[in-house]
């Protein structure tokens, strides 16, 4: 018997009685389904979005998917599992958006989705957000998920997150006037062509995936 098992045996002699959560689960299930039925009567699409949202939340919680960890763990723990999960998510989203945008383009409509000006402000903003999310223990989706789990500190995170976003929204006009207007809008299919943009992005993501896999297992063999 290892030392660890001995210590665990000794510690768990006074077990704390855990509360059963079956009641809460059943109540939540009833609320979710009732809300789904109600939304379906208003508009079918709302009901679909509702269930997609619930499913996303469950997956986020169970898989411990976390954008913060995907960039932080390679340095802290040497693990790139979440980095690779994020890369796959990017690839899936990219294929989906390409399909959507190409369809609207064939119909002669304008490009769907956000094409925002890119520049030095993107880099500075990303670094600031990165520092903030590591300190507060999660990005927006991670914070929401941990709030739901009952980690009280994240309630402070979300409050300041909302305050910061409101402040940003108030001053957005000023930023647009002074920085965004001069910055170029880059739409990759326009620069590289549709084939180059689509396969190029997939190739970059695949390359990053290979690098991430190599990084995780390089020490073992």
């Amino acid at each position: 018997m290892s030392e660890t098992t001995v210590i665990i045996k000794r510690r768990t002699q006074t077990p704390v009685k855990k509360k059963s959560q079956i009641g809460y689960t059943a109540a939540a299930l009833v609320v979710i389904i009732a809300m789904g039925v109600y939304l379906a009567q208003v508009k079918t699409l709302l009901s679909i979005i509702w269930f997609l949202g619930i499913a996303l939340g469950v997956i986020l919680q169970k898989s411990r998917f976390c954008f913060t960890a995907s960039l932080r763990d390679p340095i802290l723990t040497g693990s790139t599992t979440l980095t690779r999960a994020t890369l796959i998510a990017f690839a899936v989203a990219m294929v989906g958006f390409a399909a959507l945008q190409f369809t609207t383009l064939l119909k002669g409509g304008p490009v769907t989705g956000n094409v925002s000006p890119v520049g030095l402000h993107t880099v500075i903003g990303a670094i600031l957000f990165g520092i903030g999310m590591v300190i507060s223990g999660g990005c927006a989706s991670g914070t929401l998920m941990r709030m739901g789990e009952g980690f009280a500190m994240q309630w402070i995170s979300i409050t300041t997150f909302i305050l910061g976003s409101v402040l940003g929204a108030i001053h957005f006009g000023w930023w647009t006037e002074n920085f965004f207007r001069a910055a170029p809008k880059i739409y990759i299919p326009e620069v590289l062509g549709w084939a180059g943009g689509f396969w190029g992005q997939l190739a970059v993501l695949a390359l990053l995936y290979v690098v991430a896999t190599w990084y995780e297992y390089r020490n073992i063999d």
Binding site: R11, A69, S79, G137, E149
Partner: protein, 75 residues
């Protein structure tokens, strides 16, 4: 065969792991480090980090949403 404890209750994601990494060099072979956490994210990255180093890891849920992670220093 000493036993060390880290109280990381209320600490958000990377902090418990950083505390473990800071404490780790003080441990001798056979020592056990007990980390008390209540942030579910640390439940993933602490065992992951320790197992990657080849250490022995056990996790015990001691209360609702509170876990003890046992890390035995093997080498």
């Amino acid at each position: 065969m000493a036993e060390f404890t880290i109280d990381a209750l209320g600490e958000a994601c990377p902090i418990p792991l950083l505390k473990v990494q800071k404490k780790w060099p003080e441990l001798q072979r056979g020592d056990v480090l007990v980390v008390n956490i209540d942030h579910s994210c640390a439940l993933k990255n602490i065992p992951e980090w320790a197992r990657k180093q080849g250490q022995n890891v056990e996790v015990e849920e001691v209360e609702d949403g509170v876990w003890d992670i046992y890390i035995e220093k093997i080498d």
